[in-house]
Structures are given as structure tokens and as C-alpha cells.
């Protein structure tokens, strides 16, 4: 039996409500706007926030790229693409430059985003102060009063315990000199790409029912102390074992048989594109 869905799965009223929340989020950079997160045909925590944003924004002319931890072909990415294709019939692409909407889990593509593109990030925990203050009521007050000691204290604790800021991902960032946001669990390597980005960046948390945004050309500064500066992951003297790329975010792959460590581009479509260009050349 074939079930006919409305275009982009949602009814028009639902899409409008999400768009209104999105507009508010764009108007107040970094501010977490609550929205009525819908039940989705994927589980909470599997990207429902990002998916709802994508579905509310997508039009018939759009082309969509979905990545999960840098990969276009992971289970999560493939299933999201399948759902969107079935309910919209829009073009799906692996090319970052071709896509008008890029939904991503935990990465920003290596190829710089352009004006007119929209990056939708899936966020599991949108509240940067949650580990410091468990009460939602209190964190709202802290945001309102611009009281971010908690976010700084978490970093201070890391320095005391590990000698350095040890956020593997989701390093808190100050947006537009006003709100501290959790930039979804993107690696620190990608935090710099948020600053003055040409593309609109939307962050959606389905389980937590929050949407927030970094509009184009917005100042985003990763939190850092005067004597402990913010540093991205270093891949000095290392390059991708497949395409030879340097200065990109690399995956560390341990070969069980030989015991050797290899490095490979985390952004698979970027790596593939470089390989294709090489073979053509």
C-alpha cells in the first residue's frame, strides 16, 4: 500500500510554525527558540531537529546534501535522504557546492560554504550550561542575564584536570557578543568555520525542542581564557592516505593486522572529489 504524504512530510501549518521559530532564531543569533517538535518517523536523537528544519525549508528547486560524521553514506544520512526523497522528490547530491541545503550531523563540510546555502546541524544537547545547571528555569535566567560563568567554569575544570581545554567537540562559542551557544557536537576544527560564515547556519534539537541560528556574517568566538587560547585539533605532518589532503579534519584509522595508524579525510565527498579530479587530470 502506498501512503501519500503532503510535500515534505509535514502539513503546511506545521511547516509554518517551524519557519516562524526559525525566523525568530535568525533574528536573535544564538538564542534558543522553543518550538513544537513533531513526532517523526525516525527516533528522537537521530536528527529529528535537523530533519524538521530541513523539511520546513525545502522547496521543489532545492538540492539536498546530508552528511553524518562527514560521511554521505552512513545509515543515518541515507535514511534521512530516503525520507526526504520519498516525500519531496527533490534532487539529492553529494557535492557541497551544488547543494542549497546541507543537513549535517557533527561536521561542517571542508569546502567553504557560499552565500545562499543553508547548513542545518543536528543538535543533541542545545544548552551549553546544562552540565553546570540542570534546571531549565535557571539556565533561561542565566542566558537572560548573560551570566555564563558556568560555561567558563567547565573549561577551567578541564584545564585543572587535563592541563588543557579538553572539549573534543561542542566547544561553547559566544555568538554576536551576546549568547553562548553549544555549536552541536562539531569538532573544534569546525568552530572557526562558524565565524563570519557566508551561509546561514541553523541548529535544531528535536528532543529538546529548540532551534537556534547563526545568520550569515555573524561574529562567533569560541570561549578561551587569556592564557589558554582556543586551539583546534592539530594534524601536523599528516595527510589523507587516499587523496593526500592536508589541513583538513582527518580520521585516525588503526589497522588491526599491521598495528599501523592511517589517516583519512573525514569528509568523504571532499576526499572523493579530490580523487576524481586527480584521475581526470
Amino acid at each position: 500500500m502506498r501512503i501519500e504524504y503532503n510535500f515534505a512530510f509535514f502539513d503546511e501549518g506545521s511547516k509554518r510554525e517551524i519557519r516562524r521559530a526559525t525566523l525568530k532564531a535568525v533574528a536573535i543569533p544564538g538564542y534558543q527558540v522553543p518550538f513544537a517538535s513533531r513526532e517523526m518517523p525516525i527516533a528522537r536523537g537521530w536528527g529529528t531537529g535537523g530533519l524538521q528544519l530541513t523539511l520546513s525549508l525545502v522547496g521543489k528547486e532545492d538540492s539536498l546534501k546530508v552528511i553524518d560524521q562527514g560521511s554521505d553514506e552512513s545509515v543515518n544520512a541515507v535514511n534521512i535522504k530516503k525520507l526526504i526523497t520519498i516525500t519531496t522528490g527533490i534532487k539529492i547530491t553529494d557535492e557541497t557546492t551544488e547543494a542549497t541545503i546541507i543537513q549535517s550531523r557533527h561536521r561542517i563540510p571542508e569546502i567553504p560554504l557560499q552565500a545562499g546555502q543553508i547548513l542545518v546541524l543536528q543538535v543533541p544537547l542545545p544548552e551549553p550550561l546544562r552540565y553546570f545547571e540542570p534546571s531549565e528555569f535557571e539556565t533561561k535566567k542565566l542566558h537572560a542575564e548573560q551570566e555564563y560563568s558556568g560555561a567558563w567554569l567547565m573549561l577551567f575544570e578541564q584545564i585543572m584536570n587535563y592541563g588543557t581545554m579538553a572539549t573534543g567537540a561542542d566547544h561553547p562559542a559566544m555568538v554576536h557578543d551576546r549568547y553562548v551557544m553549544a555549536p552541536s557536537p562539531i569538532p573544534r576544527f569546525d568552530n572557526a568555520k562558524l565565524n563570519q560564515s557566508q551561509a546561514l547556519i541553523l541548529l535544531g534539537a528535536g528532543r529538546e525542542k529548540k532551534v537556534y541560528a547563526v545568520p550569515p556574517y555573524t561574529k562567533v568566538v569560541s570561549l578561551a581564557f587569556e592564557d589558554y587560547s582556543f586551539e583546534i585539533e592539530a594534524f601536523q605532518d599528516k595527510c589523507c592516505g587516499l587523496c593526500g589532503a592536508q589541513g583538513v579534519f582527518l580520521d585516525e584509522i588503526l589497522d588491526d593486522l599491521t598495528g599501523q595508524t592511517h589517516y583519512q579525510c573525514n569528509d568523504t565527498s571532499y576526499c572523493l572529489q579530490r580523487l576524481n579530479n586527480k584521475s581526470v587530470g
Binding site: F156, E157, M160, E226, D227
Partner: protein, 281 residues
């Protein structure tokens, strides 16, 4: 013209009630008060018409039985509770000309972070017991705008040494400490910003006699060295005798006697104070 010394803290007609009150409450308010609880509507008049001043370098003791309103008064002074009515002036805040109780919560937070320190009866209220001890001290420094890890660490070490916590335990969480040590970490935290005003709420309750003595000695030493102004609440007249220069006696939310500590203890005027002193002897 003679210039009189300005009090560090001046409180005028502070009232705090829990509940809306009713027509019957009029009977229990006013000078003929016997109890501070309305049996009809259940409203509790925790603090009534509290007026006092504390001068630089002075220790003011607040003594009274359980439920007399001592801790509520301290909560109001530290902005943990909103006052129902009344005025408060702190000499270091806007030259002592602004009623701090009428300020916004953001300003109250500023005053608390820069001009006050508080040691709670229960260390769980004053400390983040899962964070490191030095992190607890740094929290107050960060809240006051400090962003230099090295300086905060040095200040934290200095304070922990001062309160006799071994430096090698600075990265341990206070949950692993004894009650006395937790109180000492609280004292270090409260002193971190060199506040002109320190509020101590039943700091020795629940500690054994030898630890009580060491905490009291510590407070006395710190007060002498730093010339800090202290308001100390206790139901233990021994603590008040040892520390306080002046003492207020509270009963049912009101100040029933106020004077020099020696005078209060040697020649109590109010029946309740006489009863208290007799119980001590």
C-alpha cells in the same frame, strides 16, 4: 562639619513574608506580636521591620531560636530570597545611595559576585561538590569577570593554604572532604574576591567541637587580617560570644534586643534573651 563613618551595610525596615496575608494577619502584625504565623491563611512573617547597620571591620552576631528568622534574613541579604519590603544600602555599591533590594536580578548578581561572600550552613548549597575545590573558588572569580587561569589558580592556592586545605588536594572534589574541610573550602570561596561583606550562616552547626573551634579560629584570624565586615548567624551563644562585637537577638521574626555582645550576655534586658543566657549557663 563632622563626617560620620558610613556603615558597610545598612538595612531599613526589612520585611519578608511567605504567603499573601489576610485580614486576620493584622492582629498578629505590629508591636503586640506574639507569634509570626497566621493560623487562618498560613502566612509566615519571617522577618518584620528589621533595621540595623554594620560598620567596617565589625562582626555582627544574629542569635535566636530555630524559626526566629535568622537564616531568612541572611537569604534576603544575599538575594537568595526577594524581600517583601524594605531597603538595603551597601557602601561600596553606588556610594551607598541605591537600595540594593530594588535592583534588577542582574545587578543583584553583580553585587553578590563582587561585594559579598556567603558561607552556608549546608555545604551542598554553597559548593559544587562534584567540581574540584579550586574550581569552586574559581567559580566566584570567573563570575566577577576574571579570565586568566594562572591568576585564578594562584589565588585559589593562596586561599586554600589560608584555610588549611593541603594544596595537593586542590583538584579533589569537596564531596570527598570532611564537613569541616567543606566549610573551609566554602570560606575560601566566599573570600576569593576580597568582598567587603561576609555573611556566615550557622557555619559551625553539625561539626564536632574540635572542628568547630578550628573553623571559628580561622574566621577570627581572617577577619582580623583582612579587616572584613562579617554578619554571623548562630543559635549558639558560645559562637556569638567568641566572635561578635555586637549582637542582635531575634524572636519570631523581630529584633527583640540589640547591643554590644558583652552587654547582651552579661546584662540581658529582654525576657527571651535572659532565658537564652540562662540556658547557656
Amino acid at each position: 562639619m563632622i563626617e560620620f563613618e558610613r556603615p558597610v551595610l545598612s538595612v531599613r525596615n526589612l520585611n519578608k513574608q511567605f504567603g499573601k496575608g489576610c485580614l486576620n494577619c493584622r492582629g498578629i502584625k505590629g508591636d503586640s506580636l506574639k507569634k509570626n504565623y497566621c493560623p487562618v491563611c498560613g502566612t509566615v512573617y519571617a522577618c518584620q521591620d528589621i533595621t540595623f547597620e554594620v560598620y567596617a571591620g565589625e562582626i555582627l552576631g544574629v542569635v535566636g531560636e530555630s524559626g526566629s528568622g535568622k537564616s531568612t534574613l541572611m537569604q534576603c541579604l544575599y538575594f537568595d530570597q526577594e524581600v517583601s519590603s524594605g531597603e538595603g544600602y551597601i557602601s561600596s555599591y553606588r556610594n551607598g545611595k541605591t537600595n540594593v533590594f530594588a535592583e534588577s536580578s542582574q545587578q543583584k548578581r553583580y553585587i553578590r559576585n563582587h561585594m559579598m561572600g556567603k558561607v552556608y550552613q549546608n555545604p551542598l548549597l554553597g559548593l559544587r561538590v562534584n567540581f574540584t575545590s579550586i574550581g569552586n573558588i574559581a567559580e566566584k572569580l570567573i563570575a566577577a569577570g576574571n579570565r586568566h587561569v594562572g591568576k585564578m589558580e594562584a589565588r585559589g592556592k593562596e586561599l586554600l593554604e589560608h584555610v588549611n586545605i593541603p594544596i595537593y588536594r586542590m583538584k579533589e572534589a569537596p564531596k570527598n572532604f570532611s564537613g569541616g574541610m567543606q566549610q573551609r573550602v566554602q570560606i575560601a570561596k566566599a573570600l576569593s574576591n576580597n568582598p567587603p561583606l561576609l555573611l556566615l550562616d550557622e557555619v559551625t552547626t553539625g561539626l564536632d567541637l574540635s572542628v568547630q573551634a578550628s573553623v571559628l579560629d580561622l574566621i577570627k584570624t581572617i577577619q582580623r587580617e583582612l579587616k572584613i565586615t562579617v554578619v554571623i548567624v548562630s543559635h549558639d551563644l558560645g559562637v556569638i560570644r567568641m566572635l561578635a562585637d555586637r549582637t542582635m537577638v531575634m524572636l519570631d521574626g523581630r529584633i527583640v534586643e540589640h547591643g554590644l555582645t558583652d552587654q547582651i550576655l552579661e546584662d540581658p534586658q529582654h525576657g527571651y534573651t535572659q532565658h537564652l543566657v540562662q540556658s547557656l549557663l
